[in-house]
């Protein structure tokens, strides 16, 4: 197990260059791309003095490399600057208000997508070349091609507008919010045993996370199917049979082996999930990071926009680290 620790330490160190590259990328996009970000965000109608003041506030009139190092230094110290509107709160505080909503949505969407994907993919593989297999493969391509806002609205139309059994907007019914501990409503309601809040937050979560879950499940269906078919033809599966191991147990071993490449996919899927969440949040008026980013783009709040994108970058780096650690925990070949 010592080697597992060593692996995790090395992998954690590798996060540093990734983070710096991502931060540089964000800096490059926001400040060096042709066009003045402030001017294009503010529009043409603003008087030059105001424009100058905004540039000053965003620190955009210093030499570019000074800006770059200030930017890196500040972010690595957790300082995302202050919002340029509404009482100039620290950007990080504003993000922390909105991020839990996104986290809750993405976690549920993620779990659903993996469950649906593993289920459909395994059926397809175990019933290979049957009609069931063919329909699972069609499912995977259609799910992959679904446009999130449209699919979300179709679900809203069916369950919210016609059947009227599920809400179509918001995180929770007004007035029943649980006491704030983690700001993950589901978790907070469980921790405080507040069942009204729990049921309300769950029914609000249902459609948005189902939307995300189904759209993202397609990639898993396909990967699980192909991996499982691959694994089932491996010698060690035949060897298990030759030792009289029961089919059910062999299926579990096969799924475990087939799951390894799926873990790698999870990292990438999480990034897609975050992007999908921007659209899902907009569709379901979900007060998360995605709607925060879009709002602030509209309000021309440059610091908040930069902060939000930087935050996404850091989160992505963290997720890829976590995925690699999980990988090492499951696959012994990585850690020795």
């Amino acid at each position: 197990m010592a080697s597992l620790k060593a692996y995790i330490a090395t992998r954690a160190l590798l996060v540093i260059p990734t983070v710096i590259i991502l931060l540089t990328l964000v800096f490059f996009i926001l400040r060096i791309l042709p066009g003045d970000p402030i001017a294009s965000m503010v529009g043409q109608k603003v008087p030059p003095e105001v424009l100058e003041r905004l540039r000053e506030e965003a620190g955009l009139n210093k030499p570019i490399f000074v800006q770059y190092f200030e930017y890196l230094f500040n972010i690595l110290h957790g300082d995302f600057g202050r919002s340029m509107i509404w009482g100039k709160r620290p950007v990080i505080a504003e993000i922390m208000d909105r991020f839990p909503a996104t986290l809750e949505l993405t976690i549920f969407g993620f779990i659903l997508s993996v469950l649906i994907g593993v289920f459909t993919g395994s059926i397809a593989a175990f019933k290979r070349n049957s009609k069931l297999d063919a329909s699972m493969r069609i499912y995977s391509i259609i799910a992959y091609s679904l446009f999130i806002p449209w699919f979300g609205m179709v679900l809203q139309m069916i369950f919210g507008v016609y059947l009227k059994i599920l809400p179509i907007a918001g995180r929770i019914a007004p007035g029943v919010e649980p006491e704030r501990i983690t700001t993950l409503y589901v978790l907070d309601s469980i921790l405080t045993l507040n069942f009204d809040a729990l049921s309300s937050s769950l029914i609000h979560l249902f459609l948005p996370s189902l939307t995300l879950g189904i759209v993202l499940s397609g990639a898993y269906t396909r990967l699980v199917r192909n991996n499982l078919i691959d694994v089932l033809s491996q010698d060690y599966i035949t060897a298990y049979k030759a030792r009289g191991v029961k089919d059910r147990k062999i299926a579990l071993h096969a799924m475990k082996n087939a799951f390894i490449p799926v873990i790698t996919l999870m990292g990438l899927q999480f990034a897609i999930l975050l992007a999908g969440a921007v659209l899902t949040e907009t569709t379901f008026s979900w007060p998360g990071m995605g709607t925060f980013l879009l709002e602030r783009i509209q309000y021309r709040d440059y610091n908040s926009v930069q902060g939000a994108i930087v935050f996404y970058a850091l989160f992505v780096a963290l997720i890829s680290l976590v995925v690699d650690i999980i990988y090492a925990l499951i696959d012994p070949r990585v850690r020795y």
Binding site: L25, F147, P149, N226, L268, V278, L293, S320
Partner: protein, 293 residues
Amino acid sequence: MKGIGDTMEVKNLATRIFRPIIPEAEGRNMVIAGLIIVIVILLMAILADLIAPYNPTKLAGRPLSPPSLENPMGTDNLGRDILSRVIHGSRIVLVVVFSAAIVSMSIGVPIGLISGYFGGKLDRAISMIMDSMYAFPSLILAIAIAAVLGPSVVNAVVAISVVYVPTYFRMVRGQTLSLKSRLFVEAARAAGAGNTRIMSRYIFPNLVTTAIVVFSLSIADAILTEAGLSFLGFIVTAPTPDWGFDLSSGRPYLPSGYWWMITFPGFMVMLLALGFALIGEGLSEVYAPGRER
């Protein structure tokens, strides 16, 4: 010098690319279904002015009237014919997505080829940057770029091109790495072929089939990104018809039950993405038979 090896490689290439037309090739039905969808939508975009029953930006009936004989897909909140908007709405997405694909390919493919072929420190640096970009949520990257550049069709092309450069880079680099140690490349090198010649005559032709698959799949993905940007208001402004944008215009009317405003434009996004996804998936089976059986 034109050796036997050259012609053989090229001939293999031709048979490989055109394998989909062999009747028993697996995945052929998927390719055909995808092609039909894509071709119909392409024709729709080209012939929009001829086939659309109304001007997509002018009043064509009572606002918010449901589908009828006059307006087969109903009208929107401003009384415009949704069918006509759906037909015209195919234009921007196709233009944006194809232009972006061409731009990102012409950047990603050569960099990937050179990076993978020469290897070394430069390759590692470029790969690291590309991998970081690839790991970043693509729509958010595109939103950031579009927000800085301002909403416009050209800026959307820029934003989407940047997002898909790493996809092409990674594919080409990976293929180049595995191809450059293959026997026919070694043989060409032994016969005195230079680097440029090896890359252009031996490596590039052999990654064409993979490139075609990645191209179709990334177009499918780019369609969804374009529609997302448009939905969020980063590409067109009223009254220009575009599927993503029209979907967002229909959103406020959803709770009142005006289903036709959202159903059709969103469905078209899915259909177009599905078309390219079918082509890509089908081709990947055709080119790598056995893998998917």
